[in-house]
Symmetry: C2
Subunit: 166 residues, 2 copies
C-alpha cells in the first residue's frame, strides 16, 4: 500500500468519527467537485460529517454526476447542488483525441474496443465557462428536480479560496 | 445557500491550505468511495492534500469510475486503486426498477426519455461481495494498467473504522 489506511484510521475512529448520523444529508446539499488531490472538500468548505453528499470525478463534471444526483434527490432528499471546478485542473490540459491516442498505443483488441466506446473524457478549455455550462446543464436537465438551487464555484489551488461564478 | 462557503472557507485558506503542490498525486494513489455524507475521506484515512485522487459516486462504484481512472493513470501517474464501500449505504436499499418507477411518476416526455436511457443505478445487494466484484472488475478491465495494485475496503459508519476485504 502507498499508505497505511488501518494505522492512519485508528486515531480518526477514536477521536473524530461521529457515529449514528442519519443517511440523508442534514443540509440537503450535494457538492460536485474534481478528484484532484489538492482538494480536501470537507476541510476547505468547513463541512461536518453528515451535512452533504460529495460527488467527485475528473473535472467535477455535472454530466458525469446525473446518476448520483438522481439517487441523492429522490431517495435522500437533497435539494441544492454546488458545482466546483478549480484552477490548474488537469482537464484543461488535453483533448479526448490525444488521450485516446495514448490509450491506443500498445492496446490489445479488448482495450481498443473500450477506447472506441468512450465518447468524450469531458475535458474543457475555459474554466469559468465550464462551470457556467455545468450549472445551466443541471438547471435544464429533465431528471433534476425543478426546485433545485444550483450554484457554480471555482476553487483556487493557488490560495485555497473559493469564488462563486454562477 | 445551505451553508456559507465563503465564510467557512476563509479560515481554511488562511491556516490550512498548502499552495503550490504539484498536480500528480504524491502517493500515486486513487481512492474510489461513496458520496455518502458521513464519509470524510481525507480525515478518516489520515490523508494530506496532494497525496491521492478521490473519486466519489453513489456507492463507490468502480464501473462508474473508469473515465476518471484512465485520466488519473495515463495523465497523472497513479498506479494504485483502493475501492471503499460502506455499511449503511443507500445503494443497499433499492432497485433500479423501483427508482425508475419513482422517476416516471409525474415525468414529462423529456424526463421519461432520460429514464429510459439509464441502464442501471449500480445498486448492490451484498456489501462485501460488491467490494470484491469491483476489485475483480478493475483488475480485469482492459483500460486499467496491468501493474496497478487494487485493494477493496469497507468503511463502517457505526464506528468509523476501515476493514480490508480484498
Amino acid at each position: 500500500m502507498a499508505t497505511d489506511f488501518v494505522k492512519n484510521n485508528e486515531k480518526y475512529a477514536k477521536d473524530q468519527h461521529k457515529p449514528n448520523l442519519p443517511i440523508p444529508p442534514s443540509k440537503k446539499l450535494l457538492i460536485v467537485t474534481c478528484m484532484d488531490a489538492r482538494i480536501d472538500t470537507f476541510a476547505s468548505l468547513g463541512l461536518e460529517q453528515g451535512e452533504c453528499h460529495v460527488v467527485r470525478n475528473a473535472g467535477g463534471c455535472a454530466q458525469d454526476a446525473i446518476r448520483n444526483i438522481v439517487i441523492s434527490q429522490r431517495l435522500l432528499g437533497t435539494r441544492e447542488i454546488a458545482v466546483f471546478h478549480h484552477t490548474g485542473c488537469g482537464m484543461l490540459t488535453f483533448t479526448t483525441d490525444q488521450l485516446k491516442d495514448i490509450l491506443r498505443k500498445d492496446a490489445d483488441d479488448a482495450a481498443k474496443a473500450e477506447v472506441d466506446k468512450i465518447g468524450s473524457f469531458l475535458e474543457f478549455k475555459d474554466l469559468e465557462e465550464s462551470v457556467k455550462e455545468d450549472v445551466k446543464f443541471l438547471k435544464n436537465h429533465p431528471l433534476v428536480l425543478k426546485e433545485t438551487k444550483v450554484s457554480g464555484w471555482i476553487f483556487r489551488v493557488e490560495d485555497g479560496k473559493v469564488v462563486q461564478v454562477a
